[in-house]
Every structure is written in C-alpha cells, then in structure tokens.
Subunit: 261 residues, 2 copies
C-alpha cells in the first residue's frame, strides 16, 4: 500500500520548524506505528535565515527520503511560500500564516493568523510551530491527536508541555473552523480537497450526535480564539473523537472488503 504523504514546513530560523518536523515524524513513527523520514537541507538560503523542514510519512518503508511533490505545505514566511507553493500536488493542501504571508498565487489555500493564535492562546509567538501542527493534524488526520500530543510532550522543553498542548488544541480547533468555512463554497466543492474535516465529521460522527458534537466543536473553536484554553481543549478532544470515528470507519471498510472476497 503506497500511502506516502509528503509534508514541507517553510519559514525562517527561530520559528521552530525543525522541531515541528521531528515531532510530526516521531508522532507518526513511534506512536502511530508508521514509517517516517525527517530532513533538513541547508544551502546558501539557510545563511540568509530561511528554514525548511520536510517530513515523509508512509505505512510502508520509505525508499526516497526527500519530498518529490508535497501533499501539504505550511508556509510561515512569504519567501518560503513564494518558493515552494509551486511544488505542491494539484490537490495538495497549502496552509499559510497570514501574519507573515500576504500574497498567495492560488485561491486553494487555508489562510490563518497562526502567529496571532499562538500569541493569544499561549502568550508566546514561538508556539506558532505547534499551532501549525494542530492545523496539520486536524486537516489531514495523517497522525492521530493522541500521537501528536505524546510526541510534543516528549520533545518540547520541560515546563512548556502544557503551553504547547494548548497551542496544539488551538490549532486543531482553528482548523476545524477553517475547513468548515473553506469547504462550503460551491466553486471548491468538486473535487473536494483531502481532509475536509466537517464533511468527514458529518459522515463519521456517531448517528444522532452530529449536530450536538458540531455545536461543541464550534464553541470550542470560539473559546480557543478567545484564549480560553480549557474550552479549547474540549474542541481538541472532540477532534480526537472524529479521528477515532474515521479510523474505525476505515477499519470497518477494510474488514467488509475482506469478507466480500
């Protein structure tokens, strides 16, 4: 099964994108039992302050260890966005931090004030990398919320775990809101981008609980954006429930397919 998924994180030095890449790879490999490769390439642009971190995740061993055409690009700098947005797959996901990126040459883009969210939720802009991980987790489901939480707890400096988990929750909550808004316009409806969370949510949430859970998510999102970390946390928990439901559905589908043979 080739489900290779290529992620590129670009920005400037000091934004913690290398750490974010390592956390993502370790979440997938150590806690979600997949294979992962994580790479930094340094050239003259690194001396100019640019930073690039790449993660490849697959359920099979990874043959070529660099990104060929990204499935997801997270851009925390205008320069990085300009340079790499062309290397994205046709149905790839582009996430940009509107605090840093003002010009984007496509309208298939998830735009969010990532740095502002980090500052609002944790008081520190440095947590923007972890907010980014929350966005990636919720939009793609490429790693499970539990795995990313454990990987964060294992990697971030002691004493900052809670702060970083709040940043993750805020990112996940923001993604759910973003995706809902973004997935709606008819122009973008077909072909649906990968990981449209609301659609998946509606398809996968236990019957009879969709509206209730959706309202809970929406409330969590608002709370996250208003710096109420406890309630943001409930949104993250709800997102985890969605993910579990999705994983369960996938397994169920596989079992049924197996029986049909």
């Amino acid at each position: 099964m080739d489900d290779r998924f290529e992620i590129r994180l670009v920005g400037t030095g000091g934004q913690g994108l290398i750490l974010a890449g390592i956390i993502l790879a370790e979440a997938a490999a150590i806690y979600d039992n997949k294979y992962a490769v994580q790479t930094q390439s340094y050239g003259p642009e690194a001396r100019g302050g640019a930073s690039r971190s790449e993660v490849i995740i697959s359920s099979a061993p990874i043959d070529y260890p660099e990104v060929i055409q990204a499935d997801l690009l997270l851009a925390l700098s205008q320069e990085g966005c300009d340079k790499y947005c062309r290397d994205l797959k046709k149905d790839g996901i582009l996430i940009v931090d509107t605090d840093q990126v003002t010009r984007v040459s496509t309208n298939r883009v998830c735009e969010l004030p990532i740095t502002s969210i980090a500052r609002e939720i944790t008081g520190r802009t440095i947590a923007a990398n972890i907010v980014g991980l929350g966005l990636i987790t919720a939009l793609t489901g490429i790693v499970s919320p539990t795995a990313i939480e454990r990987a964060i707890a294992a990697r971030v400096p002691r004493g900052t775990v809670e702060m970083n988990l709040q940043a993750l929750a805020a990112g996940m909550a923001a993604a759910l809101k973003l995706d809902a808004d973004w997935a709606r316009p008819a122009a973008l409806a077909a072909p649906a981008p990968r990981g449209t969370v609301e659609m998946n949510f509606r398809a996968l949430a236990p019957k009879g609980t969709v509206e209730m859970n959706w309202r809970a998510l929406a409330a969590g999102i608002e709370a996250a954006l208003k710096r109420k970390a406890d309630r943001a946390r409930s949104a993250a928990l709800a997102a985890r429930a969605v993910w579990s439901a999705r994983a369960w559905r996938r397994r169920k589908w596989a079992v049924e397919k197996c029986h049909a043979k």
Copy 2:
C-alpha cells in the same frame, strides 16, 4: 569538486543524537558556508528505542540526501554499532563509546569512554552527544571549531551553553590524545586513516612551534580528563589553531595548483 562527507550517528533515544546531527549540519552550512543535509529515518526500530541521525556535508549542492556508505560512524549503542559498522567506507572512521559498546568487529576503531568523559567534565551523561561532536570535529576537521561552537551556542537550551562548550572541548582534547596513540602502532601506520590529528598537527603547525603546541595540547588533554575546564578550553583553542593551519595549507595548495596550470 566532490568532497561529500557522510556521517552517521547511532544510539538510543534520549542520547541527543538528533540534536547533535542538527548542530553538525548547521555548523557546516550556516557558519562554514558549505552545503549540508540532516536526516532522521524512523521505522520499527525507533519504537524499540533505537535512534539514528545522518549528516551529509559537501562544498557542492547535495544530490542524494541519504548516507550511501558512511565516512564516519559514531556508535553510542552496541546494537547501532553491530548494525551499521559494516556500512562504513574502507578508510572510514569508526568511533565507539566503550561505556556502551563492548564488542567491535574491527581493530580500526577509535574507542573512548564517551559517556564517562561527559559525566566527568560536565557532571551529566546527556552531554555525551556533544563530546562526540568534539571527537568528530578534531578527528576529521569537517567543520571548524569556531563553527561548531557557534552552532552549539545557538541550539542547546539556554543556561547549558557553557556546559556544552566544555563537553565539546573535552571531546576535542580526547580525540587529539586518542589519535596520537592510535596512529602510532606500525600495524596501523599504512594506509594512514583520514584525520590522523597528530600527523596533521606536526605537518601543519607553524614551523618552530610544533613541540611547544604539542605540549600545550597534551597538558590540555590531561586537564580536560581531570575536569579542569579552563585548561581543557586551552586544548580546544590549540585544536582550533591546528584546524586553521590545515585550512590555510589547503588553500595554499589550491592556489599553487591553480598557478601551476
């Protein structure tokens, strides 16, 4: 010019080998103006606790981003040593931590109690990764001492910079001693391994200063091993002088070759 140099760091999770790889790559690329790629690959062995970090350094852009056959292997675990020592080039450098590795299937090996040195110099075994960087720096000259110091200062947690620079100095000092002892036996004399520091030192130190500098180094080595950090620092400075002399000799040779054409 193809001077691609492939380094593999193996051990277990928590030894800080990923951080060491990032520091080495950033020293080469950001402070020494080379190209570098740094990679982590995670598979089932990562879930068993094994850790592997790879760095490729070149003065030209790097085409293939993974180690093909390593020029240097630093093994901080028996399992890592067993698995990867066969993938070393014929004249490659194998460095093992005798605190962790007791069986080695070759006699072309630099054996040092890396973890013990870290504990003696800094009081913390976690600094073994930085002692390892000191060994690599002094044995290969692949990065300059100034660059590795700056990369360490930029990457290690705040408040631990001085401790880590002491660990670096101890590693460099230990390498100089090791290499001198190791290079002497006639059985190993031909072909001389890359990076025989004493030989290079004798060839490259400014004329008339060889004995004086060599005694200063020897004193620094002893001091480092006896936890006298200030004097260990002087050994590191001496090593830096050797590196500068070597770099100067290389440049001189290149200029002469150019004129000869």
